[in-house]
């Protein structure tokens, strides 16, 4: 009996202490959900490093509110992402959700965002359709159609007539294949073959041999970054460069995080993407400096910029709403927001809540002993073509 009462009192006390701080503090909690372990851990590492770099550079208060970053690991598993999102919103009182390393993870959170009216900032996942899943989703990375299409334009302008496409067989890969081919064909090119590689693929030998035997001018590739590096080595080992086949790809393949360890075979690869560590601008110089300082000399890649700009978007929107982080007000502020990112000028499309940005065509070169993606052409202010077309 006494034990029962004691338990009851303890429970009440616990309830009081957990209930109080949420209302008492003038803080905006941001729940950053990322794959920090598992096969996509490098995504989580880079995005969170970018977000931390932003807070290190700009401080942790905006519009009189203290910003608190809570990083949670979903291991790259969609049902985990969803559970963590619910916990963050219901138990921890998170006002904004952010992160999301892969398309399925972002998709899993969309219903939570809609029901709880929680602003959700996608910092990495790249399938075009994500922002359509909920009116509370916005994005600071980019979409695959957005950066595969310009590669098609570039190829057709640079004497490439016949192409084989080779992509990973899942959402983003199919997006990349579709939009590259569409643009390339519209400009008079010919896609002789479209090869899809299983996501869990141990050896590229048969696919590469197929590409070689089709004798195209170039092969267009989308693969997630880690696998991309492996592909690159086998590409040169099989003598495709000597056979006169050029490698053109999305920037995922020459990910700045591991580009340097790819060595010689990578040199000369042409890729299209929204950010390169070597991008020349004062903003980027400052960014790389602060990033390396905060994250003990790590090299920032495009994912980190997604994280950095995600925080920039949250700060800017809160500034505009004077600290109001409720869903409808926040999302209204997000629409049409524009700022200068390390990657160049960016803005949020008021119609689709997706990012409008420059896409750069880059070539891998040896710059002072380090391999870098050096920009050679710019396609300014591109919208996501998939949603632009749908309208």
């Amino acid at each position: 009996m006494i034990k029962g009462i004691a338990l009851g009192v303890a429970g009440l006390a616990a309830a009081l202490t957990t209930a109080l701080p949420v209302t008492a503090q003038e803080a905006v909690k941001i729940g950053l959900i990322l794959p920090m372990t598992g096969p996509f851990a490098s995504t989580g590492r880079q995005v969170s490093a970018g977000a931390k770099a932003y807070m290190a550079a700009k401080g942790d208060t905006v519009a009189g509110k203290k910003i608190e970053l809570v990083i949670r690991d979903d291991g790259g598993v969609a049902d985990q992402t969803r559970r963590i999102a619910q916990e963050l919103v219901v138990n921890d009182g998170a006002k904004v959700l952010a992160g999301f390393g892969l398309t399925p993870l972002a998709m899993a959170v969309a219903p939570v965002a809609t029901q709880a009216k929680i602003p959700t900032v996608v910092m990495a996942a790249g399938t075009a359709a994500i922002t359509k899943a909920s009116p509370f989703i916005t994005r600071t990375s980019g979409t695959l159609p957005q950066y595969s299409m310009p590669v098609g334009t570039w190829a057709s302008q640079n004497g490439i007539k016949k192409v084989v496409t080779l992509v990973s067989d899942y959402g983003p890969g199919i997006d990349a294949e579709k939009w590259f081919s569409k643009e390339f064909k519209a400009k008079g090119g010919e896609v002789v073959e479209a090869v899809r590689v299983p996501l869990q693929n141990p050896d590229f030998a048969p696919f590469l041999q197929r590409v070689r035997d089709a004798k195209p001018d170039a092969v267009f590739v989308f693969l997630p970054s880690g696998v991309g590096a492996l592909f690159m080595k086998q590409f040169s080992d099989r003598g495709l460069p000597e056979a006169g086949i050029k490698l053109i790809a999305t920037g995922d393949v020459t990910d700045d995080d591991i580009l340097n360890s790819m060595g010689k075979p990578a040199i000369g690869t042409i890729t299209g993407h929204f950010y390169a560590t070597a991008h020349e601008s004062p903003e980027n110089k400052a960014y790389v400096e602060v990033f390396k300082k905060v994250n003990n000399d790590m090299r920032p890649n495009f994912m980190s910029v997604g994280g950095y700009d995600g925080m920039a978007l949250i700060y800017n929107a809160l500034e505009k709403t004077k600290g109001d982080a409720t869903g409808p007000a926040f999302m209204e502020a997000v629409k049409g927001l524009s700022w200068t990112s390390p990657r160049g000028p960016v803005s949020i499309d008021p119609d689709t809540r997706d990012i409008i940005q420059n896409i750069y065509i880059r070539e891998v070169k040896d710059v002072g002993g380090e391999l870098q993606n050096v920009e050679i052409q710019t396609f300014a202010n591109l919208k996501d073509p998939e949603k632009a077309e749908a309208k």
């Binding site: 851990a41 050896d203 030998a205 048969p206 696919f207 197929r210 880690g226 003598g239 591991i258 060595g263």
Partner: protein
């Protein structure tokens, strides 16, 4: 398409080296060791660390990764595995899958989640044309090393005293002990040797298969297919099975890319229906 055939053989050889250690533990010692891939991964990481951090030649890394993983295997066998020899298979599976997850998390913690890359010595990279057939130098190297290993393995098992002791210990543990064979020692050495082979396979495979913390999970299925198709009572069974799977996988992906990934599974099902105990089973279900 001799190039495709050659690529298939090289890939099959690699699968064989990776999986034959598992044949030994599973078939000869009757222990289900799902953590086999973890030893392969360890071998891979040892090579990466030795090459990239200490600049040691790739040729020295191979024996080093064999030795270190063999010692690692020996230590684990003495401290953990030996207590489970008599446990039922479910316990063994749970135990070894636990080790897999710990190794995945450990590799992620110490080495990071990214794909590890090694730079081969120049004489091993690139390809050459032999009578019009394009042959990758590194794949040729893999084929040569793996064939030598396969032959050596077969000879050790069938011709040496250690081999006959091992076979005796497996066939009837009690009688073997009664004859004065030190069965625990034989098993420990065999386990260490099998782990070492996995480590060597991981080191050689880093270039072709890639290496990241999920290696043991990614390749577990391939190991198990090789062992189940090949049967577990000989070395030549898994060897042929690995060859068959390697060639079928590569050829399937080349000729019918749309259904390429399914070819080996289809093949496995057919093989298991025709020869449920493996290609060269002795005809007795263990």
């Amino acid at each position: 398409m001799l190039t495709i055939l050659f690529d298939g053989i090289a890939y099959g050889m690699l699968l064989f080296i990776l999986a034959c250690g598992l044949t030994v533990t599973l078939g000869l010692m009757n222990f289900i060791n799902l953590a086999h891939g973890a030893f392969a991964m360890a071998g891979g990481y040892i090579t990466v660390v030795l090459m990239n951090r200490y600049g040691i030649s790739f040729y020295w890394c191979l024996p080093a990764s064999f030795l270190v993983t063999a010692i690692l295997g020996l230590v684990l066998e003495r401290t953990l595995y030996q207590w489970l020899y008599k446990a039922d298979h479910l316990d063994q599976v749970l135990f070894s899958i636990g080790i897999v997850f710990m190794s995945v998390a450990g590799a992620d913690y110490f080495m990071g989640g990214q794909q590890q890359l090694i730079n081969l010595p120049p004489e091993l990279s690139g390809r050459m044309d032999v009578l019009g057939v394009g042959i990758g130098r590194y794949r040729l190297f893999t084929v040569v090393v793996c064939s030598l290993l396969a032959i050596a393995l077969q000879l050790i098992l069938s011709k040496t005293r250690f081999g006959s002791r091992l076979r005796a210990a497996v066939d009837d543990r009690r009688v073997a002990m009664g004859l004065g064979i030190n069965v625990p020692l034989v098993f420990a050495l065999t386990f260490a040797f099998g782990s070492g082979l996995a480590g060597l396979g991981g080191a050689m495979g880093a270039e072709i298969l890639g290496l990241d913390p999920n290696f043991p999970l990614k390749f577990m299925i391939y190991f198990l297919i090789v062992v189940s198709v090949g049967g577990t009572s000989t070395v030549s069974g898994p060897f042929l099975a690995a060859m068959l799977l390697g060639i079928a996988d590569v050829a399937g992906k080349y000729y019918v890319p749309a259904i390429g990934p399914f070819v080996i599974y289809a093949l496995m099902i057919v093989m298991l229906i025709l020869r449920p105990n493996g290609l060269f089973s002795r005809g007795i279900g263990r």
